[in-house]
């Protein structure tokens, strides 16, 4: 039986099917073969589409909030890993007072992530202490915050008005004390500009030798020269130039003649050519009487 469905007519022999493109398909193909247009379609359009979608998505407030939250969560997840946790703080090179002071100033609650630590600010905080010459702040492996302090060592007590200040060898004030007895071992200096000549003062103290137990302190006079105060209100006035040599002369005199054991009030060495002594009133009277008796 003959099929009722349409059958394609057999191709006439010798004729290849060769349909002509329509005008529009021809133009379309030519357009697609244009290099600039091809680049536009292959790169430009996808990029444009992605940018458009991204912009549309980001303009939504909720999406933006969600994005921020996601980023924050991701960040926290990384930062809170145990590898990054700082569990404690150790302070090296500081005395107990300074350690307490640093602990109070730093005010950190452990554990915290090392990403939350502002080491530079921490360093500045610690370095602001007068007693700290230098400080190295770092997070050590194992999660310890290490604050290595190079503390200033006080070498003298400086009486400034009513205050007793501690100063180190560079003349920097490292702290205050209430009583002279707290730092009895340190020499006392006083007067304006005393801390600027601290080296000289220390050298003078070192040169006192046998009178060391009797020395009360050094007073800077007129910001240019030193007076050495001994007990019994004895005073050695030292010159501006070369005070050490002058002091050595006084010490030598004391060792030979027990000068300072005598009733001398002031040994004035300001003029090296003419050392002068002032005796106390009774001594002068005795001296006069002895002279009269002769």
């Amino acid at each position: 039986m003959r099929s009722l469905t349409a059958r394609r007519a057999p191709q006439p022999a010798g004729i290849r099917r060769d349909p002509a493109p329509t005008r529009w398909s021809y133009r379309y193909q030519r357009l697609m073969l244009t290099p600039a247009f091809r680049a536009l379609v292959r790169i430009g359009l996808p990029v444009l589409l992605i940018v458009f979608i991204a912009t549309a998505w980001i303009t939504n407030e909720a999406n933006r909030a969600m994005l921020t939250a996601q980023i924050a969560a991701l960040k926290a997840a990384v930062q809170d890993r145990p590898e990054f946790l700082v569990t404690g703080m150790e302070i090296d090179g500081a005395d107990p007072y300074l350690t307490d002071a640093i602990n109070e100033a730093v005010q950190l609650t452990f554990p915290l992530s090392s990403f939350d630590l502002d080491l530079a600010a921490l360093r500045d905080t610690v370095a602001r202490f007068g007693a700290v010459r230098d400080v190295v702040v770092r997070v050590q492996p194992g999660g310890t915050l290490s604050i290595a302090v190079d503390q200033r060592v006080p070498v003298a007590v400086w009486r400034y008005g009513e205050e007793l200040r501690l100063i180190d060898a560079e003349g920097v004030i490292t702290g205050l004390i209430q009583n002279r007895g707290d730092m009895a071992a340190l020499p006392l200096i006083a007067g304006d500009g005393a801390k600027d000549a601290i080296d000289e003062a220390l050298a003078l103290f070192a040169a006192t030798g046998p009178v060391r137990p009797r020395v009360r302190g050094l007073v800077r006079m007129g910001e240019r020269r030193w007076d050495m105060i001994l007990d019994r209100a004895q005073r050695i006035l030292l010159p501006t130039q070369d005070p050490l040599a002058a002091l050595d002369r006084v010490i030598a005199l004391h060792e030979a003649e027990d000068l300072l054991e005598r009733d001398v009030l002031v040994v004035d060495m300001r003029n090296a050519a003419r050392p002068t002594m002032r005796l106390s009133e009774p001594a002068v009277a005795i001296l006069r009487r002895a002279a009269d008796n002769q």
Partner: protein
């Protein structure tokens, strides 16, 4: 326009024939890789291009090598160009076309001028070309080629390039080829409808000659017979110049229609029978070789017909003879027998009929050979047959065109009072 296309680097070749439309896409690679050295020419510019796309399509709407149905032709051109572009993967904007019909007519022109100054300059060449008295080739016809074929300076003739030589009187011979203007206009319109720009136009007889004749044939004198579907082109070459071209308005399609009428078969079947079993010289064997004619009418008697090959040859031979006789007449009229060498090269799709060379040597003379086009770089194997002689010749024409009249500067006296136009032309030429 051709220069613009060359700068773009890609140009299409369009052979609008009666039986097929071929499109080749050429890519020019800038300077030629083979430079001219002693004794070796630049290979006629062949080395500078490469065929990167090729396509053919069955021609529709072309008869006798002329556009007959515009829309059909346009569609066929579109098909060919599109598939060639697709193969080349590049868009083509410029096209060089050739057409086989359009009743070409050759004229020999000569001009004569006194040389200004001591030596011949470009200006003198332009003047002598302008001095040729153009014949009245009739209204509705256009000049397709106008090539100077010979220069003579005083008593010396046969110069290819007289520039720089001393002499007093310069004469030239020029070959002018005119075709029907309407045929060109129709073709131009079809190409324009395909969004293409025409970068050049050539006669297919001429370009077949370029590709099918070897160099010494072109030099010594030869005729190229391009047996196409609807028209048979004749071009005569000597000294590497075409001196005569004509076209016989008969071709392979007429053979096919004869078979169709003689065997009572459709044209498509006739074409198949012609290409598979066709021949010219009958032998005793051919009487016994029966060809299934076939058919789709549903009538058993009709569909099972057979014809002997001798019958087929009997149908084909008179028509081929007629074509060759006509060619003979045209060649005689052109004075072909006066050429020093009378080589005849048969090419085109029609030249593939077995036994054609034997028949042609009886009619046209002893020196007949079958010609195939030159091999050019990148040409697909399928496009190397004689049917593509015109297309391949057109690629050579595109790469290495011969000087035409309008390539030389028009002499200044012709410009009198048109200095503004000259200025505009100068700007156009230089920018």
């Amino acid at each position: 326009m051709r220069k613009v296309a060359m700068q773009r680097g890609v140009i299409a070749i369009l052979d609008v024939g009666t039986s097929k439309i071929a499109c080749l896409v050429l890519r020019f690679d800038g300077p030629e890789r083979f430079t001219t050295v002693d004794g070796v020419g630049p290979m006629a510019g062949q080395s500078s291009f490469r065929v990167i796309g090729a396509a053919t399509t069955r021609s529709r709407g072309v008869r006798f090598g002329e556009v007959d149905a515009m829309a059909e032709t346009e569609r066929a051109i579109r098909t060919a160009v599109q598939s060639a572009q697709k193969m080349a993967k590049v868009r083509v904007d410029h096209v060089i076309a050739c057409l086989s019909g359009a009743r070409p007519r050759s004229y020999g022109l000569d001009g004569e001028v006194d040389v200004h100054g001591a030596v011949v300059t470009d200006q003198d060449i332009g003047r002598v070309l302008a001095a040729c008295d153009v014949p009245d080739y009739g209204a509705g016809r256009e000049v397709l080629h106008a090539q100077p074929v010979n220069f003579a300076l005083d008593h010396r003739s046969g110069m290819a390039d007289p520039r720089g030589q001393t002499g007093a009187r310069l004469t030239t011979d020029m070959h002018l080829l005119t075709v029907d203007a309407s045929a060109i206009e129709n073709l131009l319109y079809c190409i324009k409808r395909c969004d293409l720009e025409l970068a050049g136009l050539a006669s297919s007889a001429y370009v077949s000659g370029i590709s099918a004749l070897v160099e010494d044939e072109q030099e010594l004198g030869a005729a190229c017979i391009d047996m196409g579907g609807g028209a048979t082109g004749i071009s005569v070459f000597i000294r590497k110049h075409m001196i005569y071209a004509d076209s016989v308005r008969m071709g392979g399609d007429h053979v096919t229609s004869d078979i169709s009428m003689g065997l009572q078969v459709p044209l498509a079947t006739a074409e198949r029978i012609k290409t598979l079993h066709g021949g010219i010289m009958a032998t005793g064997m051919d009487d016994r070789e029966m060809i299934e004619i076939g058919g789709t009418t549903g009538d058993w008697e009709l569909d099972r017909r057979t014809a002997s090959r001798a019958e087929l040859i009997g149908i084909m031979r008179p028509r081929v003879e007629e074509i060759l006789e006509e060619v003979r007449l045209r060649l005689d009229a052109a004075g072909f027998e006066h050429l020093p060498s009378q080589k005849i090269v048969l090419t085109g799709g029609g030249s593939q009929i077995p036994g054609l060379d034997a028949l042609a040597s009886k009619i046209l003379g002893q020196q007949v050979r079958l010609g195939r086009p030159l091999r050019v770089q990148g040409l697909p194997q399928a496009a190397t047959g004689p049917a593509f002689a015109a297309a391949v010749g057109l690629t050579l024409f595109a790469a290495h065109p011969q000087d035409e009249w309008w390539d030389f500067e028009i002499p200044a006296e012709r410009h009198a009072g048109r200095s503004f136009k000259r200025a505009v032309k100068w700007f156009k030429d230089n920018w």
